[in-house]
């Protein structure tokens, strides 16, 4: 015969046992969901860091490639400009100019034209603009876009996901704590006196419902 019945208060032991069992199972489920949320936060952080590395690697490598090509273009540009200026000077020579006057210019023109031709092989000509300049930003943008097709270059989306999962895991911890307190309330029914037993039953039941409803709302994303 249990004490509750002895003292004339009718809180069936079977009900208490059932409530304790429900609370324990609910607590275990909440703990499991919380653990999954924490794990998801860690995974999203790792993905975010991977994306950060991808982003910065792409930024660095596209700079190395583009400015390497731009350096080759610079040599091409230098020699082409000199070739154009030499052509203008040759064209401006008087008709009676001697071979001695023309020959050095013609030789230099050949040299710089050859150098320009060689330099032109060293960079991708598709980035040459019509006005003879080099589309450096377009090349960098294209290199970046190509990488974005292949790899994740957006760390902020992953980090936002991680933060969201972290908030969820903290909220589930609160729900777990509420259920833990409900469990204590149910357990104390055994040892507290008279009216307190009903208070404990009421408080425990309220906390049990609050913990379960809270968990459902958290899982549905209503408390985010």
């Amino acid at each position: 015969m249990d004490k509750t019945e002895e003292q004339g208060f009718r809180v069936p032991m079977a009900l208490i046992a059932l409530l304790i069992a429900i609370t324990s199972v609910a607590g275990a489920i909440v703990a499991w969901r919380g653990s999954i949320a924490a794990d998801a936060a860690g995974d999203a952080d790792t993905a975010g860091l991977r994306a950060t590395i991808n982003l910065n690697e792409t930024r660095a490598l596209s700079a190395v490639v583009a400015f390497g090509d731009y350096g080759a273009f610079t040599q091409f540009y230098r020699n082409r400009q000199l070739a154009q200026l030499l052509e203008e000077d040759l064209a401006a020579q008087p008709e009676d100019a001697t071979e001695e006057q023309i020959a050095p210019l013609a030789e230099e023109l050949v040299d710089v034209t050859d150098s320009a031709t060689v330099a032109q092989q060293a960079f991708p000509n598709e980035y040459l603009n019509r006005d003879g300049t080099y589309a450096l930003e377009r090349q960098q943008g294209q290199l970046f876009a190509d990488e974005a097709q292949e790899r994740d270059l957006n760390p902020s989306a992953n980090f936002a996901e991680a933060d969201q999962a972290r908030v969820k895991s903290e909220q589930l911890l609160i729900a777990f704590s509420v259920l833990a307190v409900a469990l204590i309330a149910f357990t104390l029914i055994e040892v507290v006196g008279k009216y307190a037993k009903y208070l404990m039953l009421a408080v425990g039941s309220l906390l049990l419902v609050a913990g379960i409803v809270g968990t459902i709302l958290i899982e549905m994303g209503r408390l985010a």
């Binding site: 936060a41 860690g42 952080d45 975010g48 860091l49 950060t52 590395i53 982003l55 910065n56 690697e57 930024r59 660095a60 596209s62 700079a63 190395v64 400015f67 731009y70 350096g71 610079t74 040599q75 540009y77 230098r78 400009q81 000199l82 200026l85 030499l86 000077d89 300049t133 080099y134 760390p155 980090f159 991680a162 933060d163 972290r166 895991s169 903290e170 911890l173 609160i174 777990f176 704590s177 833990a180 307190v181 204590i184 309330a185 357990t187 104390l188 055994e190 040892v191 507290v192 006196g193």
Partner: protein, 550 residues
Amino acid sequence: MGDRFKGFISVLIAIVTVLTAVVAYFQSDASNRDDRAGRDANSLAVEMLGQNVSGSTRSYYDYNQAYQTWFELDVLATAAEARGDDAAANRYFAAAESMQSLSPLLQPPYFDPATGEVDFTRYEVDTYLARVTQLNEEYTAAAAVKDAWDTKANAYVVHLTILAVSLFLLGLAAAIDHRASQMIFSVVGVALVSVATLWAGATYLEPVADLRDNPAAIDAYARGVSYAYMGDEAAARAAFDEAAQIQPDYAAVYVARGTAQLELGEYVAAAEDFERARALGIESPSMLGDLAVALYYQGRFADAIALQQQVVANSPTELWVQFDLGASLIISGQLDAARATYRAAMDAAIAEVAAANEAGTTPSSELWFGLSYGVIGLDEIRSLIADGTGVPDPALIPNPAAVDALAAELTTEIKQLTVGLEFLGAPPTGTLEAQITDLSFGEPIYGDDGSVDYEIGNEFESGISEVSMLFDYAGMRDGQEIVIKVFIDDKEDPSWRIVAPWDAGADGEGYEIPLAISYSDTFVLSTASYSVEMYVDGLLAAEGDFFIEE
């Protein structure tokens, strides 16, 4: 009575369980914040690396390709102009001008077409260095936040452990019937709960400062670092003032402002800032070394020595601090201790080179910096004694003649050691047998018949393009290693170095070694003070100076 006691214990257990749940929540929250700050720190470190690489690549192109091509064309134009080939000069000038569109470095505000000079440091700062500095500060702040939350999370784990132990004790008290044991378990359990609760409360209330919440302070600091990099120490100090005003416990600001004030010769203010940084937890050898320098220039030699001895004891690889310690000892008249300190520093340098040779690597540039820094410190002391004025107050130097003699001796030793280590891989041995006399400098004057005469002197007019050193010699041997070093305004220009075996016999007169040769139509010696040192098998055989006037 027994039931009441058990009821009381049950209520206590319920309270402790609630407390445990609360502390578990705090622990989880701290752990999450720790993870987030750690993630931010890693992310910022990677971003900083990326910005640094891409910015350096861009700057490398701008200076070494775009600007150098412009410079080459400009030199070709000037040379053509000097030859009287105006058409070629115009071509090159036009080509050089067209290069300016290729890089922002070749445009205002970085480029001055009148002088052809570029403000590359400002360009680097604007292009990426300011941003990298900012990222570095954000990284440092995130790492500090991570550490703080990590400490908190770990503390909460301890609190949870204590609460678990107390739950166990209270459970025991409820389970057993022995009265005394019940009392002991319950009292100890309650005591542990009280300790854990108070400790957890204190941990919770402990604030975690995040410098990133104050971006204006980081921005002002980054500006200060940028100004300092550009050599504008006064503007740097003003920016650091602003940062310190916004965030008074920003330790890095005091280190940076102290360094700027050291450069500005404000030694008292510099020392105060370094002390503030120290109080905020910075104890780096370089900062303590700088603090000692500030004390030294104030004439507080005893304080400087004590600090330098502490730094050397903790960081024996800081060669420059060892030389500073030597300088503090010598200027305060402790000649034997100074000699021993310099010897120890030189031995450390020898050991570093030997270790590098044995490992098949090369010594760090810090070694060469340390050795030249040692010479500069001794030169400063000798100048103070010679001039009778300057900082620190020369009146504080006891027995100046003895100090000067030892400084001269040590200067020669360090110089010889530097040449020996750099060119022979070991300190020079033996004594100097070579005698270099009548060292002079002259501008070659070429006669129409191919003869060469020299306009000898120590001061030359601006615009000369060639200078030779001339000397008589005796006691030389063919095959000896000759090293000539040229210091322009007290800084060695390695492009002037001559390293060659001697092949002119044992003795002779009027031997000529061309120092600067006229290798183009445009080269002229710049206005400066030139100091020349000649070493024979690593031993200093002769030294002299000449000047190019404005």
